[in-house]
Amino acid sequence: MQEEIVKNIILGEDDDYIINVGPQHPSTHGVLRFEVSLQGETIKKVVPHCGYIHRGIEKMCERDTYPQIIHLTDRMDYLSAHMNNEAVCLCVEKALEVEVPERVTYIRTILDELNRIASHQLWWSAMGMDMGALTTFFYGLRDREKILDIFEESFGTRLIQSVNAPGGLMQDIHTGFQKRIKEFIRYFRKKLPEYDQLLTGNVIFRERTEGIAKLSLEDAIQYGVTGPSGRASGFSCDIRKIEPYGTYPKVDFKEILHTEGDTITRYKVRIEEMYESMNILEQLVDNIPAGDYSAKMKAVLRLPVGEFYQRVETARGELGVYIVSDGNKSPYRIKFRAPNFSNLFIISKLAVGYKIADLIAISGSLDLVIPDIDR
């Protein structure tokens, strides 16, 4: 029975050489299994199998009240944890029609951009390591420690903050927050060109990524590939420009769009996004208005009956939160449109015809975080 299911999926001839990359593998960032059908070294067909880390987050949210579901959303795409929180909070605030203080929107946007930079730094470390340049792992993580120190000083934890609540934040920022951010920007602006010298310009790296796995604009739109992977193919999908939330209407920044769509373009889009995030931070960090860190909310929140949707731009693409409420303390049904889920399945189209080494490069450039796929 199992054999038949596998044969139907693969649809290969009987003497195909099938190997499994994963689920335990140093390069798939999380538990993901690729079933690869090979001819020599060339890939004929790739089928990704996800679901190894499904934890039932959407179901768990149905029994928790609205302030309690924040801590679960952190753990979906843990590298952009704050943005997940913000999506749910914005949706709940939209439903309750609550006006949050301006200080809260500034701090939320600053934390968004810091999370984006930290996520891209980790992505860069892992991409270099997958390609074989093992030192990039340590350089990227060393620089990421400075951001994690900022988080730890103000909120107590490094990776997962859980600091949002419907109506504002759970606590105010520390007094050293702005100073540390400015120090970090000064430090990182000097270090980022080193990344280019070490990896981007390197002839070996360019040979391995230029012209590999071109993603056309039609495919990106059809499969719903958003985030930096989509923007590298010309798909203008930045939610911060289309449907701005938080402080984004007041901030001046560019949307990074390229048209080639191959692996090195996806790489370059993320490096340039790091520069843009630093520009946004510089515009915001000195102008945080004074005020409350939260609006006055009731102890028990009941959303009105109806359906509410909110989308934000995480480090990997468009995250959508869809809440169906029937008037109770908990949502009747909550659904997350996860960016990594749509980004994953483009691999079956992109990797055909390339070699196994390229499969690793492609999945590295798509920047997948597996818990987000399985939720």
Binding site: I19, G132, A133, T135, I204, E207, R208, K355, A357, I360
Partner: protein
């Protein structure tokens, strides 16, 4: 016994005379074989341990961290602890694997590198096998290692190992050519294949200085080709951890894995010492010209220190390559060899032959 650190031939001659005085010539020869074999075994093992420690420390400093620092002062006993752990591991026999080939594959790799190390001149008078076709012998013998790798991959009965072994076989065979041709440039300059002759001919300057541009080109080509030959650095896709777990030695555990690991480091030592001997003068101190004050100052440092210093520098450069660059794909590796290194080599040899004929080198 006369022990002169500048010239070991006094020591070896006196040992030889002492043995001949108490045994017949046949037994003397046998005893000498055993003594040299033991010395090489111990040297091999100790150097292997030291090189593994050095690699971990170099890697750590490049990556902004400390490296082994707990087992012993500055962590120098870390490799011994690893060795004890490997010795105590369970040797898992593979079902359906070809038992004979599976077991002899690591030994073939080690034997090949032993045979090569015997022919290297360590210092004046410390030269175990001094063939008159020294370079030819070394190149021939170091290509026996690929047989071990292919046998290991094939007999493991696992898809990953097979892919790794096939890649590695293609790679090693291609880069043999470049190594041979780049060494040939210096043979043309020096006029002899005998290693002691090549070292003696550098008494008035190392070939990398005397043979100006072609020698530098040959040195760079030799460095690249030798890192590829030993499956190291940016050419290590045969054991690419992030792609295929461990490639051709996935199924080996315990002492057999230790053999492969050790053989890789010793191969690195061998190609580094060949580079040091042929291009950088072996145990010859740095001389410019024939007889001047600078040469006399350089002569104070014993030749064995020169030899290990040069080899150490070349090893450091090879480690530097490994930790900086990403990995090459198999087709890019073969493109590099056949389309770039080989034409440059051939052109280089023609130029060198012309220069030697005209006498246009120092």
């Amino acid at each position: 016994m006369t022990f002169d650190i500048y010239d070991f031939s006094g020591l070896t001659q006196s040992i030889d005379k002492g043995l001949k005085a108490s045994m017949s010539p046949g037994w003397t020869l046998l005893t000498e074989f055993v003594i040299i074999g033991l010395i090489f075994l111990i040297f091999y093992a100790i150097l292997g341990l030291f090189l593994v420690y050095a690699e971990r420390k170099v890697c750590a400093f490049i990556q902004n961290r400390i490296g082994p620092n707990r087992v012993g002062p500055l962590g120098i006993f870390q490799t011994i602890a690893d060795l004890i752990k490997l010795l105590m591991k369970e040797l898992i026999p593979i079902k359906n694997a070809d038992k004979l080939l599976f077991n002899i594959a690591p030994f073939i790799v080690i034997i090949a590198s032993f045979m090569a190390i015997a022919a290297i001149p360590f210092a004046k008078g410390l030269h175990a096998i001094d063939f008159n076709i020294g370079i030819f012998y070394i190149i021939a013998v170091s290509s026996l290692g690929v047989v071990g790798i292919l046998l290991a991959g094939w007999s493991s009965n696992s898809k990953y190992s097979l892919i790794g072994a096939m890649r590695s076989g293609a790679q090693v065979i291609s880069y043999e050519l470049s190594i041979g041709l780049s060494l040939l440039t210096i043979v043309v300059f020096a006029g002899t294949m005998q290693l002691s002759g090549i070292v003696e001919s550098q008494a008035n300057g190392w070939w990398i200085f005397k043979g100006h541009i072609p020698a530098v080109i040959a040195f760079v080509v030799f460095l690249i080709a030798s890192t590829a030959e030993t499956n190291r650095g940016p050419f290590d896709l045969a054991e690419a951890e992030s792609e295929l777990t461990a490639g051709f030695h996935t199924e080996y555990s315990g002492i057999k894995f230790a053999f492969f690991f050790l053989a890789e480091f010793m191969n690195m030592f061998i190609v580094a010492s060949i580079a040091a001997t042929v291009f950088l003068g072996g145990w010859m101190p740095l001389h410019f010209g024939v007889d001047n004050a600078f040469n006399r100052i350089m002569d104070y440092i014993p030749p064995i220190v020169w030899f290990f210093g040069k080899t150490g520098t070349v090893i450091l450069i090879m480690m530097w390559f490994k930790w900086t660059f990403p990995r090459l794909r198999i087709d890019q590796l073969l493109t590099l060899e056949w389309k770039y290194l080989l034409p440059i080599n051939l052109l280089n040899i023609v130029v060198v032959a012309f220069l030697t004929l005209m006498g246009w080198h120092f």
